[in-house]
Symmetry: C3
Subunit: 305 residues, 3 copies
Amino acid sequence: MQHLIDIDSTPVADLEAILELADAIADGPGRFQHTGRDRVLVNLFYEPSTRTRVSFEIAAMRLGLRVINVAASDSSVRKGETLQDTFLSLQAMGPDCIAVRHPTNGALGGLTEFAGPEMHIVNAGDGSRAHPTQALLDMYTLRRHLPDLANRTVLVAGDLHHSRVTSSDVALMKKLGVGEIRLCAPPELMAASAVTDGVRVFDDFDAALEGVDAVMMLRIQHERLGAMDAPEGEDYHRHWGLTNARLALAAPGCIVMHPGPMNRGVEITSEVADGPRSVIREQVTNGVWVRMAVLSHLLGLPAAG
Amino acid sequence: MQHLIDIDSTPVADLEAILELADAIADGPGRFQHTGRDRVLVNLFYEPSTRTRVSFEIAAMRLGLRVINVAASDSSVRKGETLQDTFLSLQAMGPDCIAVRHPTNGALGGLTEFAGPEMHIVNAGDGSRAHPTQALLDMYTLRRHLPDLANRTVLVAGDLHHSRVTSSDVALMKKLGVGEIRLCAPPELMAASAVTDGVRVFDDFDAALEGVDAVMMLRIQHERLGAMDAPEGEDYHRHWGLTNARLALAAPGCIVMHPGPMNRGVEITSEVADGPRSVIREQVTNGVWVRMAVLSHLLGLPAAG
Amino acid sequence: MQHLIDIDSTPVADLEAILELADAIADGPGRFQHTGRDRVLVNLFYEPSTRTRVSFEIAAMRLGLRVINVAASDSSVRKGETLQDTFLSLQAMGPDCIAVRHPTNGALGGLTEFAGPEMHIVNAGDGSRAHPTQALLDMYTLRRHLPDLANRTVLVAGDLHHSRVTSSDVALMKKLGVGEIRLCAPPELMAASAVTDGVRVFDDFDAALEGVDAVMMLRIQHERLGAMDAPEGEDYHRHWGLTNARLALAAPGCIVMHPGPMNRGVEITSEVADGPRSVIREQVTNGVWVRMAVLSHLLGLPAAG
């Protein structure tokens, strides 16, 4: 496995290996601390990001890698250079890995054919389609709390249409065998691409929540709604916001996830986000373990001892 | 002492310990060189900054820490995530320290209750209120030149109203016992919060300079003056600019300080800024020692040998 | 040799030493890997840049240096601080080297008189005048392919007027003895400063290509053309674009260079850029070796073993 482009193209064995490695790293990060010494990761971000970029950066640092950040506001991008040429230039400078975030669906797929044998590409989110490291950290978090996933029901709810998390998460849950996968969104914000065999679709949030063991709330992306005829603010919250009252419909012990950043009071209330069922902060921590595992797996870094 | 939020809330013993540590570092930085190895500092800057951010970054590097920069232009901030949630996410990734600059007065105070026991927060400047590491480096510089501070007179002059340096500096000078503290500004630019017991206020610059042992000139913040009825440019310079002629009114050997960036020809002339009394560049150098001391003190880094 | 400001002011012996060192580094980068440990490079970029900034950063990292990036969008610059004061502040923080990119011709020359004995300044491109590390990597690439440069003909073609590469490259080729140097550009885009003794000037691209051993294509800088009466797009391509058909006019084995970023289909076709004569990607790789050599030479870093 040379690259991590999306869940669909990644063998189950590699996905499992990454999740197991993440477990080993979380248990004893010290053994992995300098294994990537003198290696270099480039974060090539065509969209701004705090969470994902910092998570990759801190994951790389914990492995001992050096990190170089390139942002869309930098020059070549402005000067109209193609993604391919920017990639080829960066590759020619000899880094070991490039994590790319790009606004266009599938932008990264085309890069792999230009990658040399020593180069590793990681998709840090492209368009509204794929965000495989987010899916892996979500799955990692799910499995820590619900080891018997084959018997469990997981609901993904919110603005599914604009989220790059939806299809990656659904693809991974199907691949690794979640018992039942439910999707729930306002009709305008349903993700057609995620509605695949075996997925149950709801347009009533209360009905969707009934008996679920985990609910993953997605952020309403105000900045992408544009002129869509979708509910906003108060109205959105009334129909699609997760409250403690709604959460009572789920199975006892149901965990609450959110990839962040959250719109408190819109898709989720603070009482839920900060409540006992929330594993939202844990997801962020797990994101570092999982990204360390991805980098270790791709670069073939050995654990010490 | 877990955090450095402002001068008022920090015990004198810690402030003294930091200043002594800065002295030890300045004398032999090599002993501290890799003491912070494998630790991580996040610079979370909601306002752009060259000087302070680079000073923190270079201070951290000299201790062996890794540094991650997050700027206000990054995504989560734009997406309307609260400071608290951004902090909590970053904290969940496991850095050891976060230096925060924020445009809102007191923004950082609210974060400490969310900080885990291993996390350290440093105020890198909030609103127009607090900039404790600047105050510490100013005090450090003052004491190197004027060890008998209890017998000395220090004047802070210029746009006191908009500077986050004013109240931190006054608070620290009072706490560590400067003989006489004077403030001087155009009435519209006086800092009400800094006018406290024992501080002498002047509205005539020449009178204020009479016999002082140190003068700290503050930058006129054109970009914040907005529609204020305050003197500008030439006019400001004539009444409030520090020239060699004016400096002659001070005590012999009076030192000149400025936190930068300077408006040459406005609040200070080049003959003064680059003259023999100026310790402006030395302040910048001391800023690195002091920030190394702050990080070492908070993180409990031991000196080698 | 303390600084690298431009080719003209640098002794031939130093230029030769840098090129030889680059060769040694390319042959065995491992010997140089941690030689710059605990040193600090500041990249001070007043113009955005991907390629040059990342190349300096990765070169510094491969030597073990720490790197701090300061961009024009950062604060002091916005607040109207002069380049000199920004430089002096940064210098006071104790880095070992500052690489500066600046939009103004000759902006860096003035800084050297303010540099302390331990400080090294590298010009990372100023105005449309000088880009000495680009010239060095171009020369390094030329010599690897054409060791007998004194018997060779090299053509520099394209938007010579706006490129900071032109005069640095011509100066270096003259200094190190290229057999024949040709320049070719639309009359409006000729670089007057580069037209010096012994340089042959063409305004017909086909004639200029006749028998050359290397052609360096420069990027048409749409963003700087502004209201100039210069050919654009299709029109430019028809007269000044390098195609395989045109390349057939050159000497057999003629190599094709481009400093990037390329406008594919304008000054160069993809068949040429990606074809067997192209050494464009190799230039980028060589850029890292050459910048490692520049930093090593200036900082006096020893090779291991």
